[in-house]
Each structure stands twice: as C-alpha cells, then as structure tokens.
C-alpha cells in the first residue's frame, strides 16, 4: 500500500457508543461505513489494521489515576460510595459511563495511532480515521463526548519516535482545546483551530490571544468565528491563515480534525456551513499536505451529529478526496432506502435526505446589516491572527483578498549596486531588481526562516518585488547566490499604521546561516534604506520573538532582541515602545521605526499618537 490511502476504522469502533438518544452513538459509524460501501468506494483492502492503545501510549497525555477510573467505571460503573468521583473525572452527563467504554476508547486511540504511525513511516500517504479526533479530552477528565484524546496521544507518540514537525488543523465547530493544551508549550506541534467563538458555545476557549507558552509561543493558533458564519467566511479565514502558516511552520505531517458539526443542519453549533464548504476544505487540506508535508496527511472524523443528511456524506466526500476514489453521480438509492425514517423535527432544511451528494446551491442574498457586521467581525479576527502569527513577508505572498488602501507609491530610483566585504567573501548589494531577475537567482540554502526550500524563498522575494510598494534589496555572491535580503512593503491591512499612506514596513531582514557574522545584515539594511525617497517616509519594523531563529542562532530571545535592535539602530532606526497587542504580548518583542529627515512634524505626530493607545506595561 506504499504511498496509498487507507481507512482506519472497522465495526469494532461501534463500541464507542453512549447509547440511543445520545449524539455520539454507534449509529454514526454504521451510517458512514455503510454509505462508503454502498457507493463502492471502500474495499476490505482499504482498511488499516489496528489494536487498542496501551497504557504507555495513553499515559503520554493522560494521568494514570484518570485511566484507572475509566477502566473501573467501564467494568462496574461509578462507585456508589463516592458520588462525586464521576463528576471529578467528567464521567457524567455528556460522557456518562457505559459498559466497555475503556476498551472502546482504547480502540479509538489505537486507530489514530496506527494511522499516524503508517503515515510517519511512509507506508501510506493518507489515512482517514472517521471515529477519531476526540479533541476535548483533558489530562484527567472526559470532556464533550471525548474519553481519551486520541489525536494528542498519537501525535505525542509520533513526535517521540520520529523527528517530525506536526501541523494540526481542527475544523470542528468547537475549539480543539484538549489538543491545544497538550502541546501548548511544544514548538514541534503547531495547532490551528477554526471554530465558532466560545462566547456562548462550548467549550468557551479558543481566543485569538491563546498563542502558546514558551518555547511554543506562536504555535497555538485560533480563529474564533462568529455564530452563523457560513462557507464563505470559514473558507476565507482558512485561506488567510492556514496555508501561509504552513509555509512558515514547515511541517512534516498534517493531522486534521474534520468535524462537520458546523453544518447548517447540525444541532450542536450555530455555524452555517454546507457540504460544499466541507468538500472545498478537504480539497484545500489535500493540496496543503502535498505542498508542505510531502503528502503526509491523517484526517480524523471529529464531531458531527446530523446522521441523516450530513455526517455520512461529509465522510464520503472527505474519503473520496483523500483516496482519489470517485463517488457515483448520485447517493445510492439502496442506501437511502436502508436508512431509518428521518426524525420529524426539521427546523432548517425541509424534506427527506436527497439523492444528490450536496445541497442545492443556495441563492446568494444581498448581504444585510447583520451579515455585513458578521463579516466585518470575522475579518477583524483574521487580521489580528495574521499579524500575530505570520511573518510580514509571508503576508505579502499570501495576501488577504480585497486588501485595503495601499501606501502611496514610492517615487522610483535607478537600480543601485554596492559592495561589501564580508568575512565569507565579497558580496554585491543590489536593489530594485525586477522579479524576472530575482526568479533566476540562486538562493543560499541557509536562508530558510520562513519556507522550506530555496525555490519557494526565491518566489517570496519575486512576489514582494512585484507589489506596488514592495522593495527588495539583496546581497549576493559574485557568482549570483543570494545570501541575504531586506524587504520593504505595505503594513498589513488592519494594523494601526496601515492607514498612514506614508508609512512602510520592513517585512524581513534575513541573512543565510553561514553569513551571519561580520555585519552583513547591518550593511544590507543600511544599503536598503539609503535611497532618497525614504526620507519622506516612516519605516517601521516589528520583531516577534516567536518568529526568530533561536535554534540556529543559539541565542536567548532577549539576546536575539539586542542583536536585532543593534542592526536596526546602525541603519538609523530607533527602538520605540508601543502597546500594539502583538508587540506587547511578549517583552522580548521589538518595535523600531526610522523617521525620514523630511517627514513633516504633523506626520510625525500622527505616527507617534498611534504608538500608545492605552497604558504601557512596566518595561
């Protein structure tokens, strides 16, 4: 099956069943698998073998005491002598104990582990584990139908055995809190959760500023979306953040939680996605796996509770995308006929489940005030997240659709060339090279802060130089290998300085690892900001500690900040204090500006007044 796809599920998983009337019940698996079989897209050879997870695996994420309670309740129910015990471990209400739940939970975890192991080892490219993605379970507590955190267990096991970086993308309507918490300080696992805001919805967490703890700051990413967000808003948020984040993080494996409970018919959320939206998301994830993870992709089923019209179809669409198996034109009528009568209460869509895979496309209404407000709020969220987690140069390569006002164009100047004698040899400094030239240059493999390979890095430079406000200066060896670059561009829309048309941002100062001594960065930056038009501009730059290459440089964040500040100071920048949230988030972050000599006092004042809106924290 080398390089192929598999499904990590079989009938044994029907044991994960909280019983009739409960949203998470055996019927989900039966409904899903029977549709795959009826549609002719699943064969016995597609099934990946798996066994129950062992204590040693579960204990990577869970406390022994909790696992013991799970085993005990599984055999004999909660102890009548201690009625509070079940509540303490979360084994009440949503997660009421059922006989055999310990074995069932271990099988779910075993399936996910087998999936990640097979993909990490290269035996398979993609695996779909439909009854998996129990993303809420905590270290010592069952939460939201999740008895064990199978995804966290499998990722923890995998990153222990292989030197892999894992990108976890959670599309469930609910925040992926358990997985986020399990890797909150782990720089090798980047978790991204798109979900309905926790303002009202369970579990209540997943705010934009939950970014992780050192050394994993910036590796927990949250996109809380407004109730009633539909396909367009969800996909826009995905596109604005997930793809560029993957480029920045350079993962080796993609693990996704494809909960479909954000569907308009699902009773457990207020999102309004359709199956079309879920198919579009599956396509994007597939593409992302091949672009950034050498194809390695494990998808888990997650939540989803409308068993008549949503869950089986969402699984079939995902499996078809992942395995390349083509679905028949219509949902098999035999399968439709075999399904029990749909429940009578139908508040949203009407009528029986249809034979087409997806809903009819709804006619787009003109957006009313409520929709515009929802869209504006989501946009604000997306912009805040981009500023927090994406390096500026990648924001240019992956621009937001419909960007706001751009900066005034800089008056042009003749391309310049200079020289600099670095300890590693002579370097040529150049600016205003056309994108066509940049695309032909070699890039030193030591430049890799943001993207995996030098071809992509070259593309980053070319794309920035094509921006109206984009200016790229490079340092290259006499035989044309780029060892450093400085990029100047528009501030990200939505940031405080974006509305100042004479304000530009130094989006990147990068020098290849082998060339970092001997003042190359300072020399290149001085060269880059030398042209006369910059004297009419204010140049800003921000350094967020979680974007820094601390591993390679061997420096602490504080020491790195000092080095970076010195580089900017030699080029006429000054360190300023600001309470812009992403800067204020970590005291190691740096904000600098270079105010051109001809910037009039009124503009200076307008700029300065934006630095501090509230009160500065003690330095």
């Amino acid at each position: 099956m080398n390089g192929g796809s598999a499904l990590a599920a079989d009938e044994r998983l029907a044991a994960y069943d909280f019983g009739p009337g409960h949203p998470f019940q055996a019927g989900r698996l039966e409904a899903g698998l029977s549709l795959l079989r009826a549609a002719g897209v699943l064969e016995e050879t597609d099934l990946l073998g798996f066994g129950p997870a062992a204590d040693a695996d579960l204990e990577l994420v869970h406390d022994r005491e909790y696992l013991e309670a799970l085993a005990r309740f599984s055999a004999s129910g909660p102890a009548p002598t201690d009625p509070g015990e079940a509540t303490r471990f979360g084994l009440v209400g949503d997660n009421r104990p059922f006989p055999g739940m310990d074995e069932a939970a271990r099988l779910v975890a075993g399936a996910t582990m087998a999936a990640l192991d097979a993909v990490a080892a290269g035996d398979l490219a993609h695996v779909f584990a439909p009854v998996a993605g129990l993303h809420h379970a905590q270290r010592r507590r069952a939460v939201g139908f999740c008895l064990v955190n199978d995804v966290a267990v499998a990722i923890a096991r995998c990153t222990r055995s292989w030197p892999l970086r894992v990108l976890y993308v959670d599309l469930d309507a609910h925040h992926g809190d358990g997985v986020q918490t399990a890797f909150y300080d782990d720089p090798r696992v980047c978790t991204v959760s798109l979900h309905e805001t926790g303002r009202y919805l369970f579990p209540g967490s997943g705010e934009v500023h939950e970014l992780g703890r050192p050394p994993g700051v910036g590796r927990s990413v949250n996109l809380p979306l407004e109730p009633r967000t539909g396909d367009d808003g969800f996909l826009a948020a995905f596109d604005a953040v997930v793809e560029p984040l993957a480029a920045a993080f350079r993962p080796d494996m993609l693990v996704t939680q494809n909960g479909c409970d954000g569907h308009v018919d699902d009773p457990l959320s207020d999102l309004t996605l359709s199956l079309r939206g879920y198919r579009a998301l599956a396509r994007r994830l597939h593409r992302l796996a091949h672009r950034h993870c050498q194809g390695r992709w494990v998808a888990t089923g997650g939540g989803g509770y409308d068993l008549d019209r949503v869950v089986p179809r969402a699984w079939a669409l995902l499996w078809s995308e992942l395995s390349g198996r083509r679905l028949p034109a219509r949902v098999p009528s035999a399968w439709l006929a075999s399904r029990p009568e749909p429940a009578s209460e139908r508040p949203r869509s009407t009528g029986a489940p249809s034979a087409s895979w997806m809903e009819r496309r709804r006619r787009r209404r003109t957006a009313g005030t409520a929709e515009r407000e929802l869209e504006a709020r989501n946009q604000r969220t997306v912009r805040a997240v981009r500023r927090l987690v994406l390096p500026p140069s990648l924001r240019v390569v992956y621009p937001l659709a419909g960007r706001g006002a751009r900066a005034e164009r800089l008056p042009g100047w003749e391309p310049r060339a200079g020289e600099y004698l670095a300890p590693g040899g002579p370097l040529v400094l150049r600016d205003r090279s056309p994108a066509s030239v940049l695309r032909r240059l070699e890039v030193d493999p030591g430049i890799h802060a943001f993207v995996r390979d030098s071809a992509q890095e070259r593309e980053v430079l070319a794309r920035i130089s094509e921006e109206p406000a984009g200016e790229v200066a490079v340092a290259h060896t006499p035989d044309g290998v780029v060892v450093g670059y400085v990029a100047v561009l528009d501030p990200e829309p939505g940031s405080r300085f974006a509305s100042l048309p004479w304000c530009l941002e130094v989006g990147a100062v990068e020098v290849a690892t082998g060339w970092r001594r001997g003042g190359v960065a300072s020399a290149l930056l001085r060269f880059a900001v030398e042209p006369d038009p910059f004297e009419d501009r204010i140049l800003i730059a921000s350094g967020l500690s979680w974007h820094w290459d601390l591993e390679q440089s061997g420096l602490s964040a504080v020491a790195y900040r000092r080095v970076l500040a010195r580089v900017f100071e030699t080029a006429g920048f000054e360190v300023l204090r600001t309470d812009e949230p992403e800067i204020a988030y970590d005291p190691a972050n740096l904000f600098v500006a270079r105010i051109g000599s001809r910037v009039p006092p009124a503009r200076r004042a307008a700029f300065t007044s934006r630095l501090v809106r509230g009160r500065l924290p003690a330095p």
Partner: protein
Amino acid sequence: MTARPVTVSPDATVAAARSAMRRGRFRHLPVMAGSELVGVVAQSDLEVPPGAPVEVAESLGERPLTEVMSTEPVTVWPDEPVEVAARLLVDNGIGCLPVVADDGLVGILTESDLFSVLLRLLGGGEPSSRITVVLPDVPGALGRAMTVVGELGVNLLTVVTEPGPEPGTRGVVLRAGTINAAPVVAALVAAGFPATGPGRPGPAGR
C-alpha cells in the same frame, strides 16, 4: 490577595518605588514604617503631573514617597467578603486595599484579584456552554429552573443571577458542563422559562 507583598519605607524615593514596580510587575505598594502601615503608593502617584514645570518633572524621581503617597489608606480584614472589598474600591475610587490583621499587614488586594474572582464566579476557563434564562422574581423559581437542568444529567459549573430585563424578573447566566446545550435550552423553555444558548433545536444523533 497577594500575601506578604513587597513594601517600601516612607523615606524611599519615587525612583526606587518605580523600579520596584517594574521589577515585580505590579502597580501598588504598601508603605511601611517598621511594622506600621503608613500609606500606599500607586503607579499613578509616581507619574509626572501633566503640565508640571520641567524642574518638578526632573526632580520627582529624587523626592521621598511621603510627598506622593496616600496616607491613612482604606484597609480590610483578611476575612472581609469579596463584595465588601469591591464596594470599598468602587466607592473610594481606588485600586488597592491593604489587608491588615491584628498583628499588622498580611497582604494586598487589588483590582486584578477581583477580576480573578469574577472569572471564577462566571466560570470562564472551564469547558462549558453559556446559557441565559429569564425567571420570574419569586421564591422557588431559580430552584425549579435548576431542577429542569439537573434532570437532564447536566452539571452546572456556575450560576449567577442579576436583576432581569423587565421589572419583576431575574436574569440568570449559567455555565453548563455540556457540549449539547440545545436540549437544556429547550427543556427550560418548555418549563416556561425563556432561555437562549448555543446550538439549535433538532435531533442530535437519533
């Protein structure tokens, strides 16, 4: 409260108090003459007043705290109820209360401590759904409504009530320990208690 807080002596300088605040990342300092509490300084007491002459601004750092501190600060006992402490802060327009026991200063209570209490009372940070209910303001209504929730097997993490939207009503904010909030809302509505929460009516599973 913060137990055994950092303190300063009255003859310490404004600059010394500023740097103590920066180091400890706090904004209030009890001023102690030996074991006796003689005042409190807040970060705002250490700022240069807007429009002050340059000489004042430049020399402020060298001035002793006795010139800027608030004397005879409002204090509380260690067993003071939190709502009393909150009212003292609001009524006096101040940001901190030294906590004083029989044998002297034992701690300091600040606005940030009250935010932590608020967070705990409102159940932020626990996995839960937020449900709001409107009850008639009569004895037993709250109990009946909560029985409806309890009978669904749903655990309540926090319950906060406040004056309701109409006279004669009380508003209740619940954090319910369930991912499946719609049945809770439906049961409350069916029992005659208007309620709203996340999710929508419809069969979950089947």
